[in-house]
């Protein structure tokens, strides 16, 4: 009887350890995470929408962080046109789960899916995938895929904030400079709204780089897939990733609009927020209908 009890205890302990052992990528630093927004994957009528979230975690993707970057990337798989719709992090919106607050709080409350539901409720756009990263994942990805060429219209100097020391001109940004570019807000026109728009521009820069590489060598798609999978905990299969990569290689950056929702500055209680203007509704409707801007 004692032996049987001991065996049961050992088995119970062993079974409880299996998720931790077998799922070791989930424990610790998964620097980029991604998944489907809905369990049933049903891309609608040739339209694909991906929610891109950048959080302010210095390492990994812990639960108690805010979303500093929120973008919807849409692609019309028939016309091969697309759009990037950017949301300033201080946008005062109804949050999924109840209440109203800054959109970046949705991540603390409900994780990436909480952000996805908040954005879906706001825009009426059904999202297919979400992908989220913090500082480490972003730097690691840029390191693996190489430099991303960006046009810097004005010098950006923010040594105490983002650490940016970027000259004017068009050149490739490595991991540190790329992170500084997408983080800078205090020393650029438009502040946080300007930063949000710059983040959209950076996503376009990545698309440009991807297309340049795959045009030169179509099998470069595998380099990007490997880099993404290395840094990412994905609920997306290699087959889906490959199809997304092939699709992205067909989309020209000039056919992808980069739009930040129109906002006005304000406050809610003691908090400084921005209010999304009524004109955003027509942008949502157009994006929902065509997946392009």
């Amino acid at each position: 009887m004692k032996r049987l009890l001991a065996l049961c205890v050992i088995l119970a302990v062993g079974v409880s350890l299996v998720p931790a052992i077998g799922d070791s990528r989930r424990v610790g630093a998964a620097t980029i995470v991604a998944g489907r927004v809905h369990d049933a994957y049903q891309p609608l009528d040739g339209k694909l929408f991906v929610l891109v979230i950048g959080n302010d975690a210095r390492a990994g993707n812990p639960d108690n962080v805010r979303a500093d970057a929120i973008h919807i990337v849409g692609i019309n798989t028939r016309s091969l046109k697309g759009g990037i719709l950017n949301f300033p992090r201080d946008s005062y919106v109804p949050l999924a789960g109840g209440g109203t607050g800054r959109i970046n709080e949705a991540l603390v409350r409900g994780g990436p899916k909480g952000v996805a539901r908040t954005v879906e409720n706001l825009t009426g756009i059904r999202l297919d995938y979400w992908v989220m990263t913090g500082f480490v994942g972003f730097r690691g990805l840029i390191e693996d895929i190489g430099r991303v060429e960006m046009r810097i219209p004005q010098p950006i100097f923010d040594p105490r904030g983002s650490g940016a020391k970027l000259k004017k001109g068009k050149y490739g940004l490595g991991p540190l400079n790329a992170l500084a570019f997408v983080r800078t807000r205090k020393t650029i026109a438009g502040g946080d709204i300007g930063r949000t728009t710059n983040q959209g521009r950076f996503l376009l820069g990545m698309l440009t780089e991807f297309r340049r590489e795959t045009a030169r060598s179509p099998s470069a798609v595998f380099k990007w897939m490997a880099a993404t999978q290395k840094h990412t905990r994905l609920n997306v299969s290699s087959a889906e990733l490959f199809q997304l990569g092939v699709l992205a290689s067909r989309v020209r950056p000039k056919d992808v609009g980069n739009v930040t929702v129109p906002v006005s500055l304000g406050s809610a209680g003691a908090a400084s927020v921005v209010f999304i203007q009524g004109g955003a509704r027509s942008i949502y409707a157009r994006f929902r209908r065509t997946a392009s801007l």
Binding site: S219, F222, K223, Q229, S238, F242, V246
Partner: protein, 201 residues
């Protein structure tokens, strides 16, 4: 019971025996003739989808198979890539040989090698031979097949074909550069997307 054989039976019996022998011989001959005819008819099994051989010499296919990965590739992964890569290479050869040497079979080959969506997209002018083209001779056939080593289930084939022929008594030369993106699923390898760039030389 009469055990004796009558005179009439003595005459009929040899005749019956001869008749039986003749019938047997005729039956055997008929059987042999039918057998020969059946062998000459095409088999009921579907023919393999390869281009019909031509009497015109064609350029040899130069094919390279390579893995692409984000990490060191193990021996097992390399062997898997080579095995599956060879299959993809054969598929690629079939597609382009059919396109240029046996275009009447193109629909069948596409149905077996492309996804439905990709097959629909292929039905557009500007790809393949001009109508009425004849005496096609390929002068260059080259392909690089790269497989994603992590899974060996995604592949990209970069293909170059150069050829010459005759179209309405005019000679023409053609160069095609193509990319096929392939994925291995339950039904085997399928082309999910493609890009053709075809122009006269």
């Amino acid at each position: 019971m009469n055990n004796t054989i009558t005179i009439e039976n003595r005459i009929w019996l040899p005749l019956v025996a001869a008749g039986l022998a003749l019938a047997l011989a005729a039956g055997l001959l008929t059987f042999l003739l039918l057998q020969q005819q059946t062998e000459n008819q095409p088999s009921a099994r579907p023919a393999p989808t390869i281009a019909a051989p031509t009497s015109i010499p064609q350029a040899k296919w130069r094919i390279k198979i390579a893995p692409r990965a984000g990490k060191r590739i193990s021996k097992a992964d390399r062997a898997r890539v080579e095995k599956r890569g060879a299959k993809v290479a054969r598929m690629v050869q079939t597609v382009f040989d059919t396109m240029f040497l046996d275009p009447s079979n193109m629909d069948k080959v596409v149905a077996n090698t492309f996804t439905r969506r990709a097959a629909r997209a292929l039905r557009r002018p500007g790809v393949g031979l001009p109508k009425g083209a004849d005496r096609i001779r390929t002068v260059r056939r080259k392909a690089t097949v790269t497989l994603y080593a992590e899974t060996a289930s995604q592949a990209v084939a970069s293909v170059q074909v150069q050829l010459k022929g005759i179209d309405e008594d005019r000679r023409f030369r053609l160069r095609q550069t193509a990319t096929l993106w392939l994925q291995r699923g339950k039904k085997g390898w399928r082309v999910i997307a493609f890009e053709f760039d075809q122009r006269p030389r």
